[in-house]
Symmetry: C2
Subunit: 666 residues, 2 copies
């Protein structure tokens, strides 16, 4: 569960990592090179505007319910965005579910209160909110304080060194401030409602779950799930049985999750409804090795361990095998998933130099977590947490076990029965009855429920002093236990199996965030023929490209249209998504339109026996026979060959002067 982590601000104040100039230039593509260099912030802004304008204009995504003015934090994926999403999810299924033999499940979004009470969401899944005292408009308290500090630091030249350091300190500890501390700072700095300048209320917690009611009675509160993980935990028993009562195994789920954000911002990065893909890998807490670890152990990539962050250093390139063996990463299974996530993201098209694995600092992690790493991707908004990979120990299964009364545990049968020493607590019913009368049952149960260490303490106290004070919660008071009331002994027992609650290692993917970062990483501009003209290109790998290929008849004549339709039919049979553009636009205009939605290959029908195939990024062209073209396209888009492989095999096609001319008319 991306629980704590997604609550904290996406661009983490704890690990400030300003965009290096080199990175920025790469991001800005030729645009940066073509322009004078303004401040990094405004360049980043300009790049983002260019990307999002293209995305919205070409219907990758649009604000939902636009004709009614939209709703903050809700977006629709239009046709190309929807296709990219489907491709990302299909690859996720192939890379994780199929290759790792995971058990995929599909649980409802509507969730009864008891489940989210057990998981802690009903009580703790909150953000601190303040209200404009006159208009009632709501704001996130930490956002207002953060904006205030940042603004002061950027614009106020009169700040004393003490003040500067104070404001920086606040930014660093922002996520750890209590409601009282936040409120005190807001008062101290005189922060008011940004829209009206009205005074603000004290901060108070707002639960981020969408609440509803299940059934007609109005008596069964429910919520739209804030994550998919709980559906897996509550099914642990069945899934363990399905897996032949064997560990380790992983379950996976792809589905919608919902968070009623107070004030959504940053476009697709912080939304009220989103697709999560989550894995819960259940493992014996005493053996977190992974049989396939050596498949990833030689990978090297940017990691940002706790140590580096605390000493103010940058992320470093590490070998994952070494990171595990040196203890930087807690265990092999966690390391295996970090490696697999790296492969997943870079194969999608995420730039490996703008991807890092950042370890959670001690104050970010839940008390029960053994170790957590976030895959963070750098985009124009900063470093964005896109995948959380956490070793959550036995927390979730224990929580549901306690609440439901159903044991969620695993067994290890011993080949040979083992002799173990165990404390055995034997209360004397007779003595307890005499001493405590009507209360003796409660005392008896409390004695039996003692932990090993409590029993050990009592044993030694009874042996030394003959009696001991003992708190019985169900009675709400202490009672005096005497030596004759209970015997506590170490006994040897034969055990045939070991029962334990498995640990869970959870890689959790924010699909919308990954897709948005992918959009930015794949986007570039190149000059058109006209002065100052910039053509937009999404350089998607074929794997994620929304449409694999376009088919254009060069001119609007019947014999070319017949060939185009024939090719289209062959592409459909081969399962290749494509569009056929019969408009009379110039070929240059059609290429530009196709580049802008990231179509890797274009087939121009300029002949009835052979056609021109053009590569989006290099703009190279080759000539291929009509009957062969679908299988050539399939070879490239299935990833069996690259364009470079194909180029060798076919004659090059040189664009005529006329075509070149046309290309400038976009």
């Amino acid at each position: 569960m991306l629980f704590r982590s997604l609550l904290s601000s996406a661009a983490k104040p704890r690990s400030p990592q300003p965009l290096a100039a080199a990175v920025l230039l790469r991001q800005l593509g030729t645009m940066a090179a073509a322009q004078a260099a303004p401040a990094a912030g405004s360049q980043r802004e300009a790049f983002r505007v260019a990307v999002t304008n293209t995305l919205e204009r070409r219907l990758f995504y649009v604000p939902s319910f636009k004709i009614y003015g939209g709703v903050a934090g809700l977006y629709d994926y239009g046709p190309p965005g929807c296709a990219v999403k489907a491709n990302v999810l299909a690859f996720w299924r192939q890379h994780f579910v199929l290759e790792e033999g995971m058990l995929e499940v599909d649980c409802p979004c509507v969730t009864p209160e008891v489940v989210l009470k057990a998981s802690g969401h009903v009580d703790k899944f909150t953000d601190l909110m303040v209200k404009d005292e006159k208009t009632g408009t709501c704001y996130r308290a930490d956002h207002l304080l953060k904006d205030f500090c940042k603004d002061k630091l950027e614009k106020d030249n009169t700040l004393s060194p003490e003040k500067t350091s104070e404001l920086n300190h606040i930014l660093a500890v922002l996520d750890d401030l209590s409601a009282e501390q936040l409120g005190a700072k807001i008062k101290e700095y005189g922060i008011v409602a940004p829209d009206t300048k009205n005074p603000l209320s004290d901060p108070y917690p707002f639960n981020l779950m969408f609440q509803t009611s299940i059934g007609p009675s109005g008596l069964s509160p429910g919520y739209m799930r804030p994550e998919t993980a709980q559906g897996i935990f509550v099914n642990f028993k069945d899934l363990y049985y399905y897996n032949g009562n064997k560990l380790p195994f992983a379950a996976a789920q792809i589905g919608q999750a919902f968070r009623n954000e107070i004030s959504p911002r940053q476009g697709l990065l912080r939304v009220r409804e989103f697709t999560l893909a989550e894995i819960e890998h259940f493992v014996d807490p005493e053996d977190k090795s992974h049989p396939k670890f050596r498949d990833v152990s030689s990978l090297e990539f940017l990691m940002f361990p706790r140590e580096q962050q605390l000493t103010g250093k940058s992320a470093v390139k590490l070998n994952i095998g070494q990171a595990v063996s040196e203890g930087t990463v807690n265990n092999e299974t966690l390391g295996y998933f970090i490696g697999r996530v790296y492969l997943f993201l870079t194969q999608l098209g995420i730039d490996k130099d703008r991807l890092r694995f950042r370890q959670h600092l001690p104050n970010e992690m839940a008390h029960y977590a053994a170790d957590c790493w976030d895959a963070e991707i750098e985009c124009s908004f900063g470093w964005i947490e896109c995948v959380g990979i956490a070793d959550r120990s036995a927390y979730d299964l224990r929580a549901h076990s306690d609440k439901s009364g159903v044991a969620l545990e695993a067994h290890e049968k011993f080949a040979e029965p083992r002799e173990v020493e165990k404390f055995v607590i034997t209360p004397s019913k007779k003595e307890l009855g005499l001493a405590f009368k009507g209360n003796h049952r409660m005392v008896l149960e409390a004695l039996e429920a003692m932990s090993e260490s409590e029993a050990l303490n009592m044993k030694s106290a009874l042996e030394s002093k003959g009696e001991v004070e003992f708190k019985v919660c169900t009675l709400g008071k202490d009672v005096t236990i005497k030596k004759n009331m209970v015997s506590i002994n170490m006994e040897k027992k034969k055990e045939h199996q070991r029962k334990f609650t498995p640990s869970v290692i959870e890689p959790s993917f924010g699909i919308g965030r990954i897709i948005y970062c992918l959009f930015e990483h794949c986007f570039y501009q190149r000059p058109g023929k006209a002065e100052d003209e910039q053509l937009n290109v999404f350089g998607f790998p074929p794997l994620v490209a929304p449409i694999k290929c376009t088919v254009f008849p060069l001119v609007k004549i019947e014999k070319f249209e017949v060939v185009a339709k024939k090719i289209s039919k062959a592409l459909t049979t081969a399962g290749i998504s494509h569009i056929i553009d019969m408009t009379g636009n110039t070929i240059g205009k059609r290429y530009a339109r196709t580049d802008e939605i990231g179509v890797p290959l274009a087939i121009t029908v300029d002949n009835t026996t052979s056609v021109t195939v053009r590569d989006r990024d290099s703009k190279d062209q080759i000539r291929v026979e009509v009957d062969e073209v679908a299988s050539v396209v399939k070879e490239v888009t299935d990833g069996l060959s690259t364009w470079a492989d194909i180029m060798w095999r076919y004659p090059a096609h040189t664009a005529s002067a006329a075509e070149e001319e046309e290309a400038s008319e976009t």
Copy 2:
């Protein structure tokens, strides 16, 4: 939108179609043959119990949140169910979105009130409910009345012919009864709460949408969408532009929908959260021809036109081309989709003899709908509506256009400007001002808003009588219009284009219902070796089978396990979902386990160079080289070859006596 239709009971009382004995026998498979023939109802019940037991035991689906006692109407798909669902959706995308070049979109489930107010859901998406007056337990009023009537008809031998006919009449008109009529009948028959025998409240409407609140203020009501269609309608303008401002085009969406059912029953068939796949095909209302209609026009299948239903006849096999040309089906586009839905369902594995297309009766259709057909599939619950295919005319786009003020329309540019005759209404401001003073604006607007026929009537009345009474709604009264106050004339105008609101043809698929029916149609039992032993088989086509292939080492020795792992790797590379069963169970037991989750092919590793491949349904076995086996499996599971094609090419493998023996030990 499966709006009206899914509200009415799934097993429609209007078209009673008892399961024919022949159908039942096919359903019951060998079970029916092996047993003495009890009443059809209890056989059907027994069959359902056998299917659902297998489904739940093998984790195809389970009640959600089971460890907390579950929630009625919510189910989880476990690993094999989830895989079947993913396969059904992938095929839907291939068959509809890709082959038809549809524009797929992905919109949020959380929907603001204004959208569902415009669509009519806020006011009309209700069921009539009654409450136990003492306990507050809620029931659907029509369900109670229906159960009462059915029970009486089945069990009361003393019913008079009049009473019998009265009860049958109620069952026939149940969906049309008002709250008052339902309440009166419940009183008249003395129907009480089934669980407590307490008296019931009067029926009152309960809105079936899950309500929530968007944002922190509590001032923006929202709902979980009851269908995905609205997300497409509100995006019409952008999608039309995306399609180059051309009609026809279709948009499609797959996603979750939610209905807070009063008392869910019938397992997966009536649930509170479900996956819909919806298509909105936008078309010029003056031209509903379809360019690909001839691709389906020769198909023949069971249809159940209005005429047949009203005259008490059965469904008949019709040719869809003829049904359209004779006007049974309203238009080619509707007919095309009926044909495509038939192909989709039967290719999935739905038995064509238990599939019919039933036309809506006039009282079932919304007033605006041109024609509606439901694909109904017969299962043990009766005939279940699984796909609704409706020509909804311009209703939805007009509703959102009116509410949002954004024109949702299409344009047809004329090649040549056309001369058209139009009524032009020209009120005289001066005369109206003199006559009506302060009210003259309202009269003027009312005159301008007249329809063509109203204007025509006024013109002739003014010409004959010199004056006419005219109702002005905004004034709430009639006024007298005289000849000099308005001129109404036919004028010739040149028009360059035609503006119109497109009609929409909507095929809407209840994916969970289709999957449940598929489970029943694919399930059969065959005798095991032991007396009375019945082995369960899901005879899924490879296309939908959750796992395509299993790999078993015949015995637990290392050299077989090495080969098994090698084959497993080759299958993964080929993208074939499979499991590798290393348990020491007998081969018979392992075959039975694999048959029970519908795996089409099993590879038994009984040699290091060649292996045995076994077909689930025929139990035939062939021998294939280890290096070749992955590609053979792929050929069959991709649908390029059938088992029969493959059988020819490889030597048969005859099971040894030992294996036969083992097969009985399941």
